[in-house]
Amino acid sequence: MKPIWHFVGLILVVMGGVILTAGLWSLWVKPLGPPKVLSSLHPELWWGGFMILAGAAFLVFNRRSRVE
């Protein structure tokens, strides 16, 4: 069976992707709601990107491992 780390990687990539998309949408299409404190830092962009990278690392490092 696939190890838990595979699923952790998958969910981080998917959620990070949604968060990054939300950030890009707010930036380029239209704001999604009233501005938050420190919104000028665009945390959704770098945190979403960070989640994608972390998730990808989990997927890559566990791509061949199996739990018997």
């Binding site: 069976m1 696939k2 190890p3 838990i4 699923f7 952790v8 998958l10 969910i11 981080l12 998917v14 959620m15 949604v18 968060i19 990054l20 998309t21 939300a22 950030g23 949408w25 707010s26 999604l32 709601g33 938050k36 404190v37 420190l38 919104s39 830092l41 945390p43 959704e44 945190w47 979403g48 989640m51 972390a54 739990v67 018997e68």
Partner: protein
Amino acid sequence: MQAIGLTPFDWVIILVYFAFVLGIGFYLKRFTRSDEDFFLAGRRNSAWVAGLAFLSANLGALELMGMAGNTFKYGMYVAHFYWIGAVPAMVFLGIYMMPFYYSSRIKSIPGYLKLRFDEKTRVLNGFSFAAMTLLVSGINLYAMALVLHTFLGWNWDVSMWVSALTVAVYVTMSGLLSAIFTEIIQFFLIWFGLFLVSVLGIIEIGSWDEIFARLPEGFARLWSNSGDPTQNGMLITWGGIVLGLGFVLSFGYWTTDFLVVQRAFSARNLRTARLTPLLASFFKMAVPFLVILSGLIALALSRDPASGFQLMSDGGKVNYDSALPMLISRYLPPGLAGLGVTALLAGFMAGQAGNISAFNTVWTYDIYRSVFNKKASPQHLLWMGRAATVAGIFLSVGTAYWAKSMPTIMDYMQAIFSWVNAPLFATMLLGMFVKWITPNGAFWGLIAGMGSSFAMYLGVKFQWIPMKLITLSSVSSDMAANFWRAWWAWLICFLATILISLFTRKKPESELVGLVKGLTPRVIDEGIPWFKRPAFYAVLSLLVLIALNIAFW
């Protein structure tokens, strides 16, 4: 008033979470063939998997929000729950107790009581644990619905039923394995979803030092104001913290509560099982940087009128639990707000799954097979485990509706652990380390400990006895009373067990091999490099603990 508004992106995040946990349940079902697969996850987990699950089983959303709120109320003192109130007990479990638990191949904590003492002690503990677990599970469900209704405006019944049925589906399919998988996913969601709140809080306030500079005097320290109870928000002395929280409540919970210890039983071998609580202790020590820090940030912001930050209030009374949701609302934009809400939701649901997977094991092995059907086959037990999962969920929902009709039930939750776990720790300690403790001594000692704890609780609640008799101080709080009551219950159980054992029949030593110190071969980690030995991690964990306590003295 709703604290957090959600956009379609936030809803997508929440739906992704539900799809994942259900998908994992379906995926793991094909690997759940035997009763050992269902109840102990096939005993195939690594120390990392078991360790993170061990910690996450305790890292519920109620705890995250409650502890952030308590920090707003009491300051750094709350970090005692994570450091002295957890780490020494986790180290003790890993180094001294796990060899007895794991080597005897038991499936539950009551199972150990059966081997070491007798059937009646096992059944007593099995029933009290099952009742406690269902009560906690129901109250957890009620609290979740209340939180979602208060902060998000969600329908009370819909949010409760949807989450309860989701948990029922994935735990019924693959038991402890799916509970552990979702607990680990919850761990990552909590860190990714909530740590950003602390980071942004530090950026807004300016620095770590500036946060502490804005706190009221005494709120930034752990021990230096613990000599006089009037000088700290919790109204408790260092004696109550060390004896009540650091010793009895902490050891009682972390070493005997099957909800957490079950995760270590799922480890693939003894060394891995011993490493489970030791690795978890490092993560436990890190949790204050998520929870306590956000509580301190909320407090620092609320003391600055220019920040515009304040907690929610219900009928003029400050809602301290709103500290974390209000910070999520302040900092997290669309998408990230959904992640923050999902982290809380995952915390509630994983807590529910943890309680139910512990309940179905104790019900199946320690009550059903022990009392009702001694000859049940492994396949029948597997079926019973699944049936107990569904029944447990419905009983939890019933308890949640009961809690809704009687909100004061929440007040009892803190006290429940000192009724069941504190005396049980005395029984376990004596059972594992003193070979002449008898079955009748253990049984009646346990009854005396549980009964006295309950009587002290009622006595103080209805003012039959003054609180200062329990807390040894004229100034004290309910929290202080909990700590001290746990200590007295432990002491009564400890002394009663010894006294009764002196006059009752002992078990033959041949039946105690592998269960008691002195009759069990010592665990020697020969041939294992020093950096892979449990003792190394135990020493390292204690050194970090000491450093943290000195840093915030």
